[in-house]
Amino acid sequence: MSKTDVDSVARFGGDVLENISRVMVGKQKEIRTLLVALLSEGHILLEDVPGVGKTMMARALAISIGGTFSRIQCTPDLLPSDITGVSIFDQKRGDFVFRPGPIMAQIVLADEINRATPRSQSSLLECMGEGQVTVDGKTYRLERPFLVLATQNPVEYEGTFPLPEAQLDRFFLRLHLGYPTLEEENIILQRLQGLHPIESLEACSTPEQVRTLQEVVTKVFVEDSVRDYVVRLTQSTRSHSHVQLGASPRGSLALMRAAQAWAALEGRDYILPDDVKKMAPWVLAHRIVLKPESQLRGLTSEDVISELLHTVPVRAEEDGDGK
């Protein structure tokens, strides 16, 4: 891999960030993290209250990369066929015709995923994991790049079906957008006084380019000690006193991929332990389950990851760590 390849990733990141920033005020770090997931071919779980710009961010991303966008509003009566698509009988042709569901897009927003029944959740998660849909025995390949942004409301749990741990593990990273600051909200109001800027947003990239960059990211160099750090960090979640269920090997793989994508977006063709540390809270926090007593104490999985990032040795140089 050449430096030019990495530079093209960084340039792409800059262009998309600038484009999305026309409709999203602030949230630069979150948008970059969104790009990390896109370049690593992962999916995102957005945990946030309504009205903070989740749909806008997904739409802006879809437009920026010139991809297709669709939205699934998850409700308890949502059926798997409402997601994947259904074969209907065409009377004129006298044959069944497949009508694709909303999953057949490149950027899919699954709003309030925890309101869908486990059956519908499973069908969505299967599509995410395998990148294909099977309807009536026929398999349809989902077009790459394929990114699902699933949202769930972290405050309302009544009438919801919380995602089980195994399903959560399928999400590449979990993101919180949070409320905007006072200044940011002021700017939002100013900007949205007239026509919504999303209407004039144009693509700054193509799905083909994204596919190429996804391959570039996998070639970002990972030095042995950094890989070792990723593994030790993930393993330490399994032995932590407050953790009931630690992160899986899928978690360590996701952490390494995310660090690679982050490094490439920074214009580097190798990853640093700092990249791993930056990505760890996004990638690992939703993959661990705390013990009930720790939860009662008000401890969060982010706190545990933060503690581990301070204690797990980076081992830059054996001598340097004071050993």
Partner: protein, 511 residues
């Protein structure tokens, strides 16, 4: 390295070796003519000229007069040199009918002509290889196996160039073998000075090595030509690997040829060499084969002839057993050699398909791998021994501090750790951390070099730029495996030393 320019040189060197050796042995066996020293230079020049001309300038449109002029000038030059060096001759400059009967003229001229033909033939084959590549490229050939099918199914009016090289290598090798043994058995070599004999040996072994290298290089050249025409992408290290393996193979062959006896076939070199002696010294070859040959000059005894099977006495059982075992070892050696050669070509050509091979090809690959592993192991052991020897030497010649540093470096090397400039930069980072720890700026276990750099920048704003530069450089070397240029390394080390100085100064101020 462009093979296109190298293979003609190899062909020229091989032609030169073969023709010079043949000339030498004719001179030794014939006795009526001495190989002049200047003829080496003529054969050398003619070989190079002919092969390069044929490879790069000869085309179907080249007029025959150009070729005649070329060969005429070479032979004419020989005639002029002979006349000037052996002047006065018994005949005039233009009495060519006399000249062609004079061995001092005709033999150098024939050898020059032979070198010209031989080298020119090789040169023409290189153009044939290009032609093949061009035709295959036009036919959009994409694989080597497809290439053979294509050649077989379509008549291009050209022979397979590799066969040409192989049969000539084999034929010239056989010719030189016969002549060398004839010279040895007739005893003429014994009368030669040690330097002369050494020269013959060097020329022979050199010729064999160059011939084998030429064979391997031509094969690679042919493949590269075809690949270039078909647009096939080959890994960059392929050529290097090829020549590395070829070198091992050539060393093995030269070693075996140097120690191999000659009487392991019904048609022995001895018999053929006796026939050659007879040919050159005017004896009846058939009489020689019957064993009645007694050369007049130079004299040698029949006891020197190591001809078993024609002895007067019946060999004893033990003698027969030893000979049988000896025969087995020799046959085994040759079989091994052939398998090594086959293994070499298979490994080079079917890298990813080796697991699918069965039977003899699989055995050849295994033998080849075992052989290369053994050679590499031996070389590694020698290198290790050399390294140990150097360390021991250093221990006795260096100061205690140097020895300590060398040991530390050696220890790091054992762990396959960094070496040279990379190690220096990493050691400088360790020094910064140690110095920082001494004055109270500790690096936490979970801290990355970048984070430690930020801590240092907070404490030492005066060297902000230096810290930033050093940490970035360290990261590139440590995690990015950046190549370290000497000037850049010097700059990094200077910045590192400055940081250490500032940390110490900060420590004193704090006290």
């Amino acid at each position: 390295m462009k093979l296109k320019h190298v293979v003609p040189s190899l062909a020229a060197l091989f032609s030169f070796s073969v023709v010079s050796l043949v000339g030498q042995y004719i001179s030794l066996l014939y006795g009526g003519w001495t190989f002049p020293v200047w003829l080496f230079a003529v054969i050398f020049l003619v070989s190079f000229e002919s092969v390069y001309f044929s490879a790069f300038f000869l085309s179907p449109r080249t007029p025959i007069t150009v070729r005649l002029l070329e060969v005429g000038s070479a032979v004419g030059a020989v005639y002029v040199i002979v006349r000037l060096t052996l002047s006065p001759l018994a005949y005039e400059w233009f009495e060519l009918s006399q000249a062609i009967r004079d061995p001092y003229v005709i033999l150098p001229a024939l050898l020059t002509l032979a070198a010209w033909f031989m080298a020119g033939g090789y040169g023409q084959q290189f153009t044939v290889i290009h032609k093949l590549g061009d035709q295959l490229g036009d036919a959009s050939a994409s694989t080597v196996s497809w290439e053979y099918e294509s050649l077989e199914s379509r008549d291009y009016g050209v022979t397979m160039a590799i066969e040409y090289f192989f049969w000539r290598l084999f034929g010239y090798g056989f010719l030189i073998g016969v002549l060398a043994i004839a010279a040895s058995r007739s005893g003429v070599v014994d009368d030669l000075s040690r330097g002369y004999r050494l020269g013959l040996g060097v020329l022979g072994i050199g010729g064999l090595s160059v011939g084998l290298i030429l064979q391997g290089a031509v094969y690679l050249f042919r493949l590269e030509t075809i690949w270039s025409y078909t647009g096939t992408r080959v890994s960059e290290g392929f050529q290097k690997d090829w020549f590395k393996n070829l070198a091992i193979f050539v060393i093995a062959v030269v070693g075996i040829v140097s120690i191999a006896p000659v009487n392991y076939s019904p048609i022995t070199y001895d018999r053929l060499s006796q026939w050659a002696i007879g040919l050159f010294q005017g004896m009846d070859p058939f009489t020689v084969i019957e064993g009645d040959f007694q050369p007049e000059s130079p004299p040698h005894s029949n006891e020197e002839m190591v001809e078993w099977g024609i002895g007067e006495e019946e060999p004893s059982f033990w003698f027969a057993l030893v000979m049988f075992l000896y025969f087995l070892v020799v046959v085994g050696g040759i079989a091994l050699l052939v398998l090594l050669a086959v293994g070499f070509f298979l490994v080079m050509l079917a890298k990813d398909e080796l697991d699918k091979l069965k039977g003899m090809p699989q055995l050849a690959v295994r033998i080849y791998r075992a052989f290369t592993a053994a050679v590499c192991g031996g070389l590694m052991a020698l290198r290790d021994l050399w390294g140990r020897g150097k360390n021991v030497l250093r221990r006795y010649t260096f100061s205690p501090t140097d020895t300590l540093s060398a040991e530390r470096t050696h220890k790091a090397g054992k762990k396959r750790g960094p070496s040279g400039p990379v190690l220096h930069i990493r050691q400088m980072f360790q020094r910064i951390v140690r110095t920082g720890r001494e004055v109270g700026i500790r690096m936490g276990p979970g801290q990355t070099p970048q984070e430690y750099g930020e801590l240092l920048r907070e404490k030492l704003p005066s060297v902000n730029t230096e810290i930033q530069f050093f940490i970035q450089s360290y990261n590139e070397v440590r995690y990015g495996k950046r190549m370290v240029e000497p000037e850049w390394k010097e700059r990094v080390m200077e910045q590192g030393q400055e940081i250490v100085r500032q940390i110490k100064a900060w420590g004193k101020e704090e006290q």
